[in-house]
Symmetry: D2
Subunit: 359 residues, 4 copies
């Protein structure tokens, strides 16, 4: 009766612009693509989450996301005593709110088995109820017939994989061989699994990063510890459901978690260049030059391993800049750095070259 | 399966003390009593709220509250298509979590009618399902037979009372005459109704202040706008369910909302004295004295209307202090101020006298 | 000996990029110009300020400014007992730090007289000591011979103008007639003087906004009350000392204070368009359209006075967006709003037209 | 002329209580003593600091300190070109402001030599100018004749002691033998020297912790990294200059830096007990008990090494509480923990015993 709720007040469109504010996330872009900010793993009261589905849309809108999926467990229904199982309910409830806020709501579900195979999300499905059947491979095949993108969730989660090391079991190899696996979570909630970078590169799968939120984004991922939830960046041709799906099957993704980016080098290198800019030298004393290095994105950049005659480290804050003092020889040759917070593989980071702009 | 939720992780007692932290609220005390911090009005998915009942316990614990009530609407069940009506469900679900966290969970419900009579909470009931019946007065009488404290909610809510002015209708006068009304909300969510102070004083009812939260406390009442939700302060003999109930029926309550306190003068005066302390003069130049005035509570104090020879205004921050410079004559006579943020009636505020401590 | 100071550590260039971070201010741009963020009024221990001159450079660099002036009082030297008067000392001390950080340090001073004429800053001078002479008009003429831009400071400051209303005295009219006055402060520290917009427009003077800081920027202008100090935005051809000076004499300035911008309409209109963008309609139900309206700057936009069939108010947060729901007729005609926080005159605000992008 | 400065406005006593607010620090207390919060090491423009002396009083008052000392270098005067040396100037300038704000201003100076002996502060002196003489031991003896407490500063500072390990040189042993050394800095600015705990215990010296601020407290020690500057806690009989001095010579001190306390066990144990309180068990299921453990101070408590049947770790937030679930046997025997953030020696921390209150 008295639906005075802050975020749900955004449903009442007359007041939307007064009561709710959407943040713009400044993320790197890939030339020719738009970077969609996405979270493909979340829960509601329709499995073991603690919120009503519309809350997930409100959170996504406030946080500046473009697309989310609600992926309640099919096989785990701890609130069944109070809420009868209805695996499409969350999607049905949230869809009109998503439409009103330009959030792409990807119909999804979490197929929830012991390891192996563990937990897998089926994204871009059309009916979750029909996936409630015992035989695992049948479920995956049925999902893929619906058009699903299959994501293997938290492969190193210690409750399922006590040593914390993700590894392919025969069932995963079978999925890959049959073209039934399309992505793996590198980052889930507060965890990361470095080997996933290699597993995805070797098998042409998309790297994924998601919140897997059960409670509240604002309680789990807020300042001063976090500036945003973990998310999958998808490099799509357009901000549409179709383009999003195309990009994911094509593997054009990266993961933004905390102050880190995990991205294959072919994406990481142009992403870095799209936001980091060196100015012209503004001072030259005949021995050294001084120039500004700026970062227009919300991702800080930690440059390390600088060469002789240049700063050993440069911490480029989000939406900030530093002054670089370096030998004059660097007017003519680039300064090489590791970007220690841009992960390109299980034991590699992005390597970049910096040069001041021409006078 | 993966109940990794921050606040619900507090359910897993092994990790509780690591993952969740309870804030201590520093509130004024009444000599001989303990001040219980309470919120007697909140909603969950079992009516038109957006969260699972345990979330309300988690919020209360984090926020430093002693007691709450979940008061889902009996007559308004907008999620019935997905969640069959069960008016005791929220209490049944939340009770064991409350027990694990020393939160007094008051069994309650909201009787939801058009004005008049409007909305009323029945608190300290034993069975909400049995209150689902058409005739209003019968419902109230049944609740009171269960031991209920009846609270009239948001009497000036504009959706029900277009001029925003709370007023007694015959039905309310009948309730009072029969001893079936025990408290009225002075503060509900973001609104206050000044006349309620007089209505309660004249009829020996308790003044109440509650969040009426449907979404999330952290989204509605957080910094920089708010340091806490609106709440009812109850002056109880002990921190127990029985003492709480005794104090409420005895009318020993006050309302803390934003940076304001609403309390009858017999409570407000000793509350002020329990937290505001004047030090000895630390400087005396023969004409003026200087002394510290400190406030140990989380409620700032706005002193206004100071006399000649003393500061006209003194803003005593929460957990802070100011220096007062005043004429030497105030060594011998008190300095009178209005405490403009301690409301004692519809058009009165607390009047206090300040004197430096004796040397 | 132990110069471990945080901001001064930026002087030690080896560690600069690790210890100090410069914020990027996202301000509107004028096509063909670069917006320089400037503060032309500040003090140090060389008059009645409380800091050493290099601190002003550190603050400017951290805050993302492009240019500042230190403008110590010539005639008011309250620290003379300890610091012998040297009106060029602040500039001499701060210049090399400014050079190392790409801050344009404008040589300036404050000519400090009773009203009239009041206080005036001489900016772009070459020698302040030579301006220490009794006759006011001689001082101004000498400054202008040095190339000075003359700014009249806080013309409505109540200590000098008890009614708070700025007005031209004969001496100001004489200055204008002789071409010896070039700008007036619309905003000084925490005050604004609306009439200055008209006084500047009528006399082709530049509107100015400055901090007039004596203590610390971080103590006077920080969150939650402020996101930045008051500043003059100068629309220059390049980020150089020469371009800055050319733009100021040409009157291409605006004032950013709190969440407000004061700018003549010829600047305000393109500035608004440079940062506010309407998206294509993402929903159309045959009666209404929904589209996003985004703001890429650090200046929020408060749109009011919306027409029938469109939101009455739209609060566009800094670096944020809202959703607009409007009648379909607004596919074909613009929606007019007042931008109530962009001031174009003493009683006018910017008027804008919004239209969704073409499909 | 326009002394509108925020913190200095506190000088203008008419407005003090409106414009400036003093924070109350909640620190542990020793029975029979008052804990004075002190910073005995700071600089101003009269040596190599960046602020005017009154700024140090403003900072101290805002931060809730009781006593400070301004300790400009005698032998290092880098601003001499502009500010003639006057080693008592800072004290003379700041004293009346200190008196107006009830800040105990300890007259001090820093004797600044190469290692050995390094830098030493002379506190409670009467004339700094007379200490400007070449022979080190003569200076110390002259200071002590003035009544000075001699503090050895940052004994492990790498600019003087490349391995970072503090050690006594013969000159220090001579000072101790002659009774001319009274305290050593365990904590200086952002550094700590663990061995100082042992060096002080073995020689009956006071442990000291100070900011050594040259720039601004608010820039070096603010949220989210710091909640307060490093400080010396002095357990004095009264809040007076005399009691402060008596307590320091008696060695009744501790150091509060970041989230740590360094204190000898005879102080640390009662300090812990003064603020940490266990409640009565509020739940008992026949196997386990549940009780609250609360911390009323601004110092968090990190309990580690818990025994079987009790939580391994307990993080008690500042002004917060946790719930402890433990075996019923702990009704009868205490639960032992290390308080890993209360340092009692170079390799020891405080050991405490926790028991729930009696029913």
């Amino acid at each position: 009766m008295k639906t005075k709720i802050f975020l749900l007040s955004i449903l009442l469109l007359g007041t939307i612009s007064l009561s709710a504010q959407r943040r713009i996330l400044n993320v790197p872009e890939l030339p020719g693509y738009v970077t969609l900010k996405c979270d493909f793993h979340s829960h509601t009261v329709f499995s073991d989450g603690n919120v009503w589905p519309t809350q997930r849309i409100g959170e996504a809108w406030r946080d500046g996301l473009d697309a989310i999926s609600i992926t309640d467990h099919i096989e785990y229904q701890p609130k069944k005593q109070y809420i009868p199982s209805d695996h499409n309910a969350a999607w049905n409830i949230a869809k009109s709110t998503a439409d009103n806020f330009n959030i792409i709501l990807v119909h999804g579900t979490e197929i929830t088995r012991k390891m192996p195979p563990g937990h897998l999300n089926a994204l871009f499905i059309t009916d979750a109820d029909s996936l409630n059947r015992p035989e695992f491979m049948e479920v995956i095949e049925a999902a893929v017939r619906q058009g699903a993108f299959i994501q293997w969730n938290h492969p190193g989660w210690k409750s399922q994989e006590p040593d914390g090391i993700p590894k392919f079991y025969p069932v995963h190899q079978e999925l890959i061989a049959k073209g039934l696996l399309h992505g793996i979570e590198y980052s889930n909630e507060h965890e990361q699994y470095p080997l996933v970078m290699d597993m995805c590169r070797d098998n042409k799968l998309a790297v994924m990063g998601n919140s897997d939120v059960h409670g509240l984004i604002i309680e789990e991922f807020s300042a001063p510890d976090y500036s945003h939830r973990p998310m999958t960046l998808v490099f799509a041709k357009e901000r549409t459901h179709e383009s999003l799906k195309e990009a994911m099957f094509a593997g054009r993704t990266a993961v933004w978690y905390g102050d880190h980016l995990a991205a294959f080098e072919m994406f990481a290198a142009p992403l870095f260049r799209s936001v980091v800019t060196a100015g012209k030298p503004f001072k030259d004393d005949g021995k050294s030059i001084w120039f500004e290095l700026s970062n227009s994105s919300d991702l800080p950049m930690d440059l390390t391993g600088g060469p002789e005659g240049a700063p050993a480290e440069l911490k480029l804050p989000a939406s900030g800049m530093v002054v670089v003092k370096a030998d004059r020889k660097y007017l003519a040759e680039p300064i090489s750095y590791n970007v220690s917070n841009i992960i390109t593989g299980s034991d590699s980071v992005l390597r970049v070259e910096i040069m001041p702009a021409k006078m």
